[in-house]
Structure formats: C-alpha cells, structure tokens
C-alpha cells in the first residue's frame, strides 16, 4: 500500500487480501476436515478400519447388556459397545453420566489402544430423556434391545 503499490489500487488490494485470507480459511478448513472426516466410528467400522492409536476419535453404539464391569480401583469400568455387526471393548475411568446404563446408547471419546481396547476419556450419554448425541439419533431403543438380545 505504501511504496510500490499505487494508492489508487488500495481498495482492490484490500479486497484481494481479504479474499485470499478467506479462501485460505476455506482451504484450511477443508484440509483439516478431510483428516477429521472419519472422526466418528461405529463398532463395526472400528473393527474393519481401526484408527491410528494416537488419534482422538468418537465411538458410538449401544452398551451391551451384562458387559459392564467395575475394576478394583472403584472408578474404572469396562464394557462392550456394539452395533448390529460388531463390538468393541471400552475402558473408562471417571464418573459415569447419570443416564449411562446397559442397553442404552453412548458416545465415547478417546483413543484406540494397541490391544484393540478403546480407552475413553469422556462418555457422552443422554443429557435427559430428550437428549441423544447427534450421531446416535437413528439408533432407536428397539435396536438397543435387539443388540442386547443378540449378545445374550
């Protein structure tokens, strides 16, 4: 703007800079989203295409009936998360959400350990009767029961 560029082109230069920044933001977003695109996994997908062990992903499914166990430390639980085609063991240390229980849906945030266990840092269960994590909207209770029965 000062120096080489003629002052009368200033508006054009400003518009171009703004455009370049916004296109940059768009490309950056697209690039970042491409590597994030499979951030959400169903149990069957996780078994078929396991994510790298250092990547934080979400695993969503139903907590299998009878799979919930508490470890001796009193704060670590293990359970199986399943859909109609696969199941993944999950380990979680923490205070479980109030509406977390066997046979209902859950989204676990965490990483996949080398032995295939999903180590969750956070569990998203229903906030209230009306709340379902967005990824699980199409998993109905009937599906949950079916999943539970299949296992039993």
């Amino acid at each position: 703007m000062s120096g080489g560029i003629k002052a009368k082109h200033q508006r054009l230069v400003l518009v171009l800079i703004a455009l370049a920044a916004l296109i940059g933001a768009g490309l950056l977003a697209a690039w970042a989203l491409r590597s994030q695109a499979s951030y959400f996994y169903l149990p069957s997908e996780m078994a078929a295409r396991p994510p790298a062990s250092d990547r934080a992903v979400r695993l969503g499914g139903m907590v299998e009936q009878g799979s919930l166990k508490t470890m001796p430390d009193g704060v670590t639980i293990t359970f199986m998360v399943s859909d109609d085609k696969g199941r993944v063991p999950v380990r979680f240390s923490g205070i479980v959400p109030d509406l977390f229980k066997e046979g209902s849906g859950v989204v676990a945030e965490g990483k996949r350990a080398a032995d295939g266990t999903f180590v969750a840092g956070n569990l998203l269960a229903k906030h209230d009767e009306k709340y379902v994590p967005r990824e699980m909207k199409d998993m109905t209770d009937s599906q949950a029961h079916k999943t539970g029965e299949n296992v039993q």
Partner: protein, 647 residues
C-alpha cells in the same frame, strides 16, 4: 384472561409492525406523506405492546396457570419461584417471544432515542427493523403460539428440565438474546444506510452505540453460558465446541469485527462497504445460530421441541432476510464510494488485519459447525470436534493477538513502526519469560504459546495509556484498554487451565483423605438432603489448602421428581490462585464413593477476563453516549438561541 390479553397484545403489535413498514416505505417514496409523522410513535407503541405480552407470559408462569399449554408442559406448582419466573424463556415458544420482545423494544429505543440519523435514514432503518420483525411475529403467531390453551386443564404441570433449574437460567438466555437480537439493530442500520446511500462517518457514529450495546450483552451471555456449563455439567471443561456454543460464538466474532471496523469508518471514513457488509453478516449469524439451536437440526438441551415445520419456518425467514439484505447490498455496493486511504503502517491496517483474522475464525467455525449437518444430509455420519476447532482457529487467532499488542499504539493514516520498537521490549520480555518458564515446567507448546501471548498482552494493552494524562483520557480509551487487558487475562486463564490442572479420580471410604495438587481432601460423611423438588445424597468434604484450616464443600447427586432425572451438582471453592472442583459420583459395590477432584490454577481468569472485555465495552459505550448527549444538548441550545434571535 391474562393469557388472552397477552395474545391480543401480540397480534396488535404485529399489526403495528406492518403499519410501521408500510408507513416508512410510502414516506420514503413521498416525503410529505402524513404517515411519516407517526412511524416513530408506531415503533414505540409496538415495543410497549410486546412488553405487555411478555409480562403476561411471565404472569401466567408465576401463577402456574395450567390452562396455558406452555405452562403445563414446562412448569410445576412446586418449583421454586425463581425457576417459575425463568421457565418463561426455558422453552421454545417463550424464548421466541423473548426474541420478538427484544427486537420490538430495540426498535422502540431507536425510534425514541436515536438523533444522529437523518430522517430518511431513520425511516429506512425502522422499515428494515419492521420487515425483520414481521417474519418473527408470523413465526410466533402461526407456528409457536406461547399462549395456546389446554382443555381440559391438567391437574399438575410436567416440570422444567432439571438441568435448566439453575440460577444460570435467569441470566444466560436473556443476556445472550439481548446480544443476538440487538444485532438486528445494526442490521437495520446497515440496510437503512444502503437504501438511502448514507454510508458515512455520521452513520458509523450513530450505529456504534447500538453495536456496542448488543456486543456487551452477547459477551456477557457467552461468559455466563460458559461458566454455567463448567459448573453444571461436572466435566471440568468450560468450552466444548458444541454446535450450540458455536452458534453463539459466530455472531460474537462478526460483531467484534464490526465493532472494530465501525470505529475505522467513524474516525477515518474508510472500510465503508465492508462495515455495512459486517452489519448484515453479524445479525445473519444470529439467525443462523437460532436456526441451528431452535430448529431441531441439532438435538441438545437447548433444542426444546423438535418440529420440522418450525425448522423450515426459521430457515425460510433466514433465507428471506439474508437474501433481501444481500440483494440491497449488491444493488447499492457500486454506489458506495471508496473510503479514505491509509499507509501500510497505520491503525487502519491493524484493524483490517483484526477483521480479516476474525472473519477467518468465523469461517473456520461456520464450516466446522455446518459440515457435519451437510454431510449427514448426504448420508455420511461425521463428527467435528475440538482437535479441528482448536488447531484451525489458532492459526488465525495467534497472528491476530500478536497484532493486538501493536495495533492500538499505531496512529491513524500513517505511522512508523520504528517509533514503537522501544515501547515493545516489555511485552516481548514478558512473553519470552512466561513461555520459557512454562516450557521448563513441561507444559505443552500450545499452552506455553497461550501463556506467552497472554503475558505479552497484559503490558501491551496498557501501553496506550503511557504518556497520557490519565485524568483527561477519554472513556472509550479506558474501555479499549480494559477490554484488551481482559483478552490477555482470559488467555492466561485458558492456557493455565489446560497446562496446570491437577485431576484426581478415586473411590474412597468415608473418613479417608486424598491429595490433589496442594489440597488435602477428606470425605467426612455422606448424608441425604432434600430440596423443594428434589432429594439428594450430599458428601461432606473437608478440604485443606497447603495445611491450612479446612473449608467445607458439599457436592450432591440430586434426584428430581418432576420430571424424574438425576443431576450431578458439583461443589466449587475459589481462591485467588485457582479453583477446587469436587464432583460426587456413585457408590461402588464395596461401599466406597467415587470422587472426582480438580485443582485448576487461575481458571477463574477465563470468566473474569470475559467480564473485563464486557466492562471495556460498557466504558466505551458510556463515553460515546455521554458525548452524544453533550452534542445533542449543544445543538438544542444553538437552535433555541437562533429561534430567540429570529423572533
């Protein structure tokens, strides 16, 4: 009776909005039209009527009038009075009535108090405000009537979602809405200026207080919402990049950019088209946010009712309003002449940089929020989470914060960077030492960067005061310094929370003690307690900081019975240097109790910094309003004297 009155007032207000729009348009076409004289009064009366309607809704909630459908679905006679009151907007219909009330009252305030705008610009602004309002009146009256009745009247109400039964409900939604909807005034000003071709520094000075006002409330609403989520969800986090949070962040980013560009237009008559565009974008983001939150596209505690008709209605309103505004912009953009020029090293360049970076963050957040919805519409299931938002927004935020250290020191139009070098050694030294100390403590690079930037911002934000007579320094200058200082403090709070938090998750017996950070935490007892509409198990915690006398905390696990739901109630203890956060979990089979403990050094700075940002806005607003008042009084005096002389 009261409900009927409220509904009648609402219909009448909607009719007045139509009259306001028609009156303003015909007067714009023919200045001598008699309707022109009443447009301002119509806007004022419309505001009054909606206020009456909203008061009626509060009334039926306080009375728990169960013949009103909304009350019976969202309230309960046994609920504490505060939550009966706040439940008024703790539901879809009530929150939309709150939206319309703020919009109408905002329009009334503009009609009554705005004196800088020319008469045509005022008419065009009130026309735009009426145009937007009519859409929302239609939405309210057709698809979300808050006063719908029930017959037969149920014996008892269903109660309010226990997660919402918190003092936060009394503050967070109204403040956020005043901010959201207050931006509609900036939108109407921008459209009005485009229609009358009056994009000028005078227009910017007229618009600035309204933008500031909305922005202050938006900031407060976001701060309140963040703190509410922090203490109520029991996760110890303060920002989750949840779509509903992003819905409030996007208008804030646009409004922050607008706030800075409007001061360039006011002071230097530059960034003319861009400022008008931002005025349109800011309120568009409010409407996008409302669509995301209220349409049922996202399912969350904020989406009260899932009704596809409502989603389509809001989407149509969104398309009509944004489409109309952008059309006016496209038609008039060419006629907005280019503003004053400026050199590369100037205050203007720094503010342009701020605007571009804020727009970049806005783009990142918008794409990250909408992409999963679009992907889902095409059959793919995708989550976008913190890893994306943190990294992508930092790419824009870090350069912006660096320039923030320098920008306020630069002069308008043309300056020399070499003039500043001697001033910048203190922020630079602070940044390097803070980051270096943090890194030796084994802190992550991103946290160290945040601490360094925050440490630089604190002295840098105060540099504009150096060499000034502090007694004569104007309020807007103090406001800017306070707000930028708040940004620095909030940044330190965020970085400190992620770098130094100590967490302990444990199951212990009553009587046992556990250490977290410098604290010794003893679980003294577990006892049942009862509230007005819940029972709970309460832990008696005795917490001692560094061997000092123990303080008592009482986290609870509450069971509400209307509607039946478990809610965890955490306990917090705040010291000058951090916050202790205690959550009571469940009882293990062997009788031990789960406790989750956090020691979070300086976490409170996040919200204190946020409050300072809002306070800075308030100081600037007071300064602007005071000087406007002085100007108005002076003009009146001159007019009075002329009249006297003329006689």
């Amino acid at each position: 009776m009261i409900a009927t009155l409220g509904l009648a007032a609402l219909w009448l207000a909607a009719a007045l909005a139509v009259l306001q729009l028609v009156g303003a348009i015909v007067t714009l076409r023919r200045a001598d039209n008699p309707l022109g004289a009443v447009v301002r009064s119509v806007a004022a009366v419309q505001g009054g009527l909606v206020a009456v309607s909203f008061a009626c809704l509060i009334w039926v909630f306080l009375e728990t009038d169960l013949s009103v459908k909304l009350v019976s679905e969202n309230s309960h006679s046994l609920k504490p009075l505060l939550f009966k009151f706040a439940a008024t907007w703790g539901n879809h219909e009530g929150s939309m009535l709150l939206w319309v009330s703020i919009m109408a009252l905002g329009g009334a305030c503009v009609a009554l108090f705005e004196r800088r705008l020319s008469e045509p610009a005022m008419l065009a602004t009130l026309a735009a405000q009426a145009f937007v309002s009519i859409g929302f009146y239609a939405f309210l009256l057709i698809a979300s009537n808050p006063f719908a009745r029930l017959d037969p009247v149920p014996a008892e109400g269903r109660g309010l979602n226990p997660l919402l039964q918190d003092t936060g409900l009394a503050f967070h939604p109204p403040t956020l809405y005043i901010g959201y909807v207050g931006l509609s005034i900036a939108f109407s000003f921008a459209v009005g200026a485009l229609i009358t071709r009056e994009v000028s520094p005078a227009f910017a000075r007229a618009m600035r207080p309204w933008v500031l006002g909305a922005w202050i409330f938006l900031t407060l609403g976001i701060v309140a919402g963040s703190y509410w989520a922090y203490y109520t969800l029991g996760w110890g986090g303060w920002w989750f990049w949840d779509p509903v949070e992003n819905a409030s962040l996007m208008p804030w980013l646009a409004a922050t950019a607008l706030l800075h560009s409007v001061s360039v237009l006011a002071a230097r008559n530059a960034l003319r088209a861009w400022t008008v565009m931002l005025g349109v974008i800011a309120f568009s983001m409010s409407m996008v946010g409302t669509f995301l939150v209220r349409s049922g596209v996202l399912v969350s505690v904020h989406a009260f009712a899932v009704d596809p008709l409502r989603g389509q209605f809001i989407l149509a309103l969104l398309a009509i309003n944004i489409g109309a505004a952008l059309t006016v912009f496209a038609l008039r953009a060419a006629s907005i002449s280019e503003g004053e020029r400026f050199a590369l090293a100037s205050r203007e360049t720094a503010l342009v940089f701020n605007n571009v970076m804020l727009s970049g963050i806005l783009g990142i957040v918008l794409v990250g929020t909408l992409y999963p919805l679009l992907a889902e519409a095409m059959g793919a299931r995708v989550s976008v989470g913190p890893p994306y938002f943190n990294a992508a927004s930092a790419i824009f935020a870090v350069p912006m914060l660096l320039v923030l250290c320098v920008g306020p020191l630069l002069g308008w139009r043309r300056d020399r960077l070499s003039r500043l070098t001697w001033k910048l050694w203190l922020p630079l030294a602070a940044a390097i030492s803070a980051a270096a100390i943090a890194l030796t403590q084994g802190v992550s690079v991103l946290s160290a960067l945040g601490l360094g930037l925050g440490a630089a911002l604190i002295p840098a934000s105060m540099l504009p005061l150096v060499g000034r007579n502090l007694r004569t320094a104007k309020l807007p200058l103090w406001g800017m310094v306070t707000a930028h200082l708040g940004v620095g403090l909030a940044l330190i709070g965020m970085a400190s929370d992620s770098a130094f938090t100590r967490e302990k998750l444990i199951a212990i017996n009553v009587g046992q003690t556990v250490a977290v950070g410098p604290w010794q935490i003893k679980l003294a007892r577990i006892a049942p307690v009862a509230g007005p509409n819940w029972t709970a198990l309460e832990a008696g915690i005795e917490a001692s900081y560094d061997g000092a006398t123990p303080i008592k905390l009482a986290p609870q696990d509450r069971a509400f019975w209307a509607p039946p739901q478990q809610v965890n109630h955490s306990a917090l203890s705040t010291r000058w240097n951090g916050q202790l956060y205690v959550v009571l979990g469940q009882q293990a089979e062997d009788g031990r109790w789960q406790l989750r403990l956090w020691w979070k050094p300086f976490v409170i700075l996040i919200w204190l910094g946020g409050l300072m940002v809002a306070l800075g806005g308030l100081l600037a607003l007071l300064g602007r309003v005071a000087s406007d008042l002085r100007r108005t009084i002076a003009i009146d005096k001159i007019a009075f004297r002329r009249k006297k002389q003329g006689r």
